[in-house]
């Protein structure tokens, strides 16, 4: 029988709170920029010129077919070789944005392609410019259609941020690891970290759902 001692871990609660806050902040920043990047890439893959389409397509395939931790290590350990030195937090946000951008590009593209032809033609017949048609007529319903998939991707990126602790980003897993390396209460530390991630993921889904209903009229 294992004797569990959760208090040994919980007495370091300020570290856990700091880690939770960093994980949440990383997720909010990288999801916001990442979705914006995804929309731009999705637009470019459908409406861009040949060269742009190839460039964006390569980016999406490169990121979606390589492990996140390799992308992260490339940015943190590799880029200093060419003079780009980022803090652990900066490297984490960049890696998460790039990752989120590639995945959401494909999700948003599915939404855009499902737009009925007549809707676009209706916009054009109202003498709206192409940019206005895209922003006001095509994009909102497209996002609404794929919002559940985007929410899921945000949660996946949030959970993926656990590996950012490997480059000394002060997020939740980093502190869980640190605490267990100090008091050797690995089981308890990871149980608590798991519960905190679970709670954060449930909250995130709730918030994203509410945001979708409020601004995108997702039913």
């Amino acid at each position: 029988m294992i004797a569990l001692d959760f208090l040994a871990v919980l007495k370091d609660w300020p570290l856990l709170v700091q880690g939770l806050a960093t994980t949440a902040a990383l997720t909010v920043v990288s999801a916001t920029i990442g979705i914006a990047l995804g929309v731009v890439c999705a637009w470019a893959r459908i409406n861009g010129t040949g060269v742009l389409r190839v460039v964006v397509g390569s980016y999406v395939e490169l990121i979606r077919n390589t492990p996140f931790i390799v992308q992260l290590f490339f940015i943190f350990f590799g880029l200093p070789g060419v003079g780009v030195k980022l803090s652990p937090e900066g490297a984490s946000v960049l890696a998460m944005v790039i990752n989120m951008g590639a995945y959401s590009a494909e999700i948003v593209r599915a939404g855009l392609e499902a737009t009925p032809r007549g809707q676009i033609e209706a916009g054009q017949s109202l003498a709206l410019r192409p940019a206005e048609v895209f922003l006001h007529i095509v994009l909102p319903p497209a996002l609404a259609r794929v919002w559940p998939a985007i929410s899921g991707q945000v949660v996946i990126v949030m959970l993926g941020s656990a590996v950012c602790g490997q480059i000394a980003t002060h997020e939740l897993s980093y502190f869980a690891n640190l605490i267990q390396s100090r008091n050797f209460r690995a089981f308890e530390a990871y149980i608590i970290a798991t519960l905190l991630y679970l709670g954060l993921a449930v909250c995130l889904r709730g918030l994203l759902g509410a945001a979708g209903r409020r601004w995108l009229r997702v039913r």
């Binding site: 943190f76 350990f77 200093p80 030195k85 490997q166 480059i167 000394a168 980093y174 690891n177 390396s181």
Partner: protein, 261 residues
Amino acid sequence: MNRRIVLSLALSASIAVPLAAHAQGALDDVMAKKTISIAIPTDFPPYGFVGIDLKPQGLDIDMANYIGSKLGVKVELLPVTTANRIPYLQTKKAHLVISTLGKNPERSKVIDFTAAYSPFFQGVYGAKAIAVKSFADLKGKTVGVTRGAIEDMELTKLVPEGTNIRRFEDNAATISAFVSGQVQLLATGASVAGNMMQRNPRLDAEYKLLIKDSPNFIGVGKGEDKLRLKVNEIIAAARAAGDLDRMAQKWLGRPAGNLPQ
């Protein structure tokens, strides 16, 4: 079950008896054969590693050859691992173990130790250009360390508020962070740092601060007092002549300093 225990007891007794009979014989054996067998590491730079010519080299190898030359005998180097270096001594395969061996009460029960001959330590390393004279100078600097290692525990106690300690998963990641310039300073064991500096001369890194000392001793067979005292004489003379400092300087980048007797 019982028969097995009896058998193993009988076996160990039959091994122990000849050992006891030969105690004190190591130095005579060396002098008679004109050869001394010394267990050395080959996987622990800069103390012991294999060079591109496939020959063992390092501080421990230098020390082994030094003792051989002072005794006026040939040296037979026996590569050992961390786990089997003490058994080599217990089974009389080696006369001496010079293999970054630390002294502790458990080991003292089964083998004897000479005086210390070289330092082993965890330290802070950084480029020559960066000014670090004391732990107070670490304030505002980034220091990479492997999480949970001895140096992590000790460093955390020593640094002032405002030091940015970045903890990595393993030695490889910590070294990568330093080599790629992601951290300004590196806190690690002398062996890891020596290896890193040897492979990355362009970093121009040097030893800066001592975190914790745990010097190396030479192991001799239990009860081999004649050999132990002879080696102690050689170590004391080497220390007085500055040879221990020279060896430490050559391989570790710092003098041997005050080693325990």
